[in-house]
């Protein structure tokens, strides 16, 4: 799986509106900076590939974590409203131009705050007398998602023209990010998320039996749930703030990886991360080559590819993860 990811990465590095052949990649590394080809390869394309790796991995990971906790293949950052909350936070930031006054780091910060706020809201609304109700949680999440997107539209309607284009393109999802600080941050967060969530892989396996059974197996379910919630919102908040809402990655990637490797989270977490990374890099390569020299938002590609794959899988009647 790692090899596949690497080859997708290299392929993506060499494909683009101005082709640089495979063989040129290695020599270019040694020729160093200065050439146009070097700039295209390592400043423009490599940064996108690295960001694609981090965001794709983070979103898939968030999807696996949420699906594992709720034993429902339909939950992911988007359906729980976490993406929406993060987007709203970032939108506020853009409209009030906070990132220009206080520095670029406020973008992911607002994304994370938005995501976290939604999580807290959904969580507290779904808790009745100390017990988390999963059905209520899902419904609340979807509703908050609607509210968030309406508020974003409201902001777009009243915002200045020069902000509008930025918001629209960012919301559609793009891996183009000239700021290396943000790229590094997302890479850091996604790998940190992978490490922390891996500590809980056994707990997630126990959760697949249901919460009560997990408790019978000695899992401190409330603490685990809360921690995993925070990780999921951190992963989503950072991804959304940098790359916009890229839907379906967290839904489709884990679904198909599960078909390949089964439901064991000790394998599932890592393989979903890698597959998600590869999937997003692949989609981004498509997005920037398909109508080259113009570019599509990568969210469009993941939406079409992911959505149709999902419908196909449903139509074939494959039930994975409890398949309720």
């Amino acid at each position: 799986m790692g090899g596949l990811l690497l080859s997708i990465g290299i392929l993506s590095l060499s494909i683009g509106s101005s082709g640089v052949s495979f063989k040129r990649i290695i020599p270019l590394m040694f020729e160093g900076k200065g050439t146009t080809e070097y700039t295209i390869l390592f400043d423009v394309r490599l940064s996108r590939i690295i960001l694609g790796f981090a965001v794709g991995g983070a979103l898939s990971l968030a999807g696996v974590i949420l699906q594992g906790m709720f034993r429902n293949p339909l939950v992911e950052p988007y359906t729980l409203g976490i993406s929406g909350g993060a987007a709203l936070g970032v939108c506020l930031n853009i409209v009030f131009r906070l990132h220009q006054t206080f520095g670029i780091f406020t973008l992911p910060l607002f994304g994370f705050l938005g995501a976290n706020l939604v999580i807290l809201l959904v969580y507290s609304l779904s808790i009745r007398r100390g017990i988390l109700r999963i059905q209520g949680l899902l419904l609340t999440g979807v509703m908050i998602s609607f509210i968030a997107s309406s508020l974003i539209m409201l902001m777009m309607a009243v915002s200045r023209v020069e902000d509008l284009h930025g918001i629209v393109f960012w919301i559609m999802g793009s891996l183009e990010e000239p700021n290396w600080f943000l790229i590094k941050l997302v890479v850091f967060v996604s790998i940190l998320g992978l490490i922390i969530s891996y500590v809980f892989c056994v707990d997630l396996n126990a959760f697949s039996l249901g919460e009560e059974e997990a408790l019978h197996l000695g899992i401190n379910i409330e603490r685990t749930k809360r921690l995993l919630f925070i990780i999921a919102s951190l992963l989503t908040g950072c991804s959304v703030s940098v790359a916009g809402i890229i839907g379906f990655v967290g839904l489709v990637v884990p679904h198909f990886v599960r078909m390949l490797v089964g439901g064991d989270h000790r394998i599932l977490l890592i393989s979903s991360f890698l597959c998600g990374a590869g999937f997003l890099i692949f989609c981004d390569t498509l997005a920037r080559t398909i109508i080259s020299p113009m570019e599509l938002p990568v969210g469009v590609i993941t939406g079409i590819l992911g959505g149709s794959l999902f419908v196909y899988a449903l139509a074939k009647g494959q039930t994975v993860l409890g398949g309720r």
Binding site: R71, R129, Y198, V199, C201, V202, N205, A206, S208, L209, G210, E212, E213, L215, H216, L217, G218, I219, N220, R258, G262, G263, D264, R266, T319, V320, L321, G322, G323, R324
Partner: protein, 267 residues
Amino acid sequence: MLEIKDLTCGYDSKFALQDINFRIDLGEVVGIIGPNGSGKTTLIRAITHVLKPKQGEVFFEGKNIGQMKFKELAKSIAVVSQSLEVVFLTVEEFVLLGRIPHFRKMQFWETKKDLEVARRCMTLTDTIKLKGQLMTEMSGGERQLVLIARALIQEPKLLLLDEPTAHLDINHQVRILDLIKRLNKEFGLTVIVVMHDLNLASQYCDRLILLNNGFIHKAGPPQEVLTYKIIEEVYKTVVVVGENPISSKPYVFLVSEEERQKRGRPG
């Protein structure tokens, strides 16, 4: 080994169990019987501390279970519940989940010992031949055996079962209860089993606890609990209690309305 003192607990403001007092000694097989909604499953949930008591305490080997760590509890008490969760795992993977309480911190994979215990428990429950198959392909009886294997792999001292024979044919009913009896005899496992079938309960349990509306109505050996007076009072059903000709345990016969009318007619 298990002692329940003045236990009152329930969901929300409703009390599902009230003033429950009993103790269970090492090596007993105790059946919990009672009509639907009498609090049988709630009692199981209280013993495993899924449901926190509103009043009273549950002691396991002298320790209050409310103060025991989740893991410690899971190493002592295993539960076979009426789980309907469909899990996309092979039988072996599923059974191995029961080993989680024995995992050390930062241990992600089973050790040789874990696999050895798994093999032993699956041989004991006769599920070793199924180990590569998916849980979704199991029949009701096989599923129950796999669930018992998963509970045994926890190496518990006390095994709780919630209606292990529900929806099973007589072959599987007897197989499962024989297995439980064997575990009790050969390994000294203490067992609490919730049962609906009074005759199976009578046959396999040393002692019965009859619940009604959240109270203990009667507790004792089957001969004392399964009398027509008590059964008719609790279940509001006309019965005749006879004797099982083979085991000489009490046997509850149901009486249909037609028969009742025939016999009830004067003359």
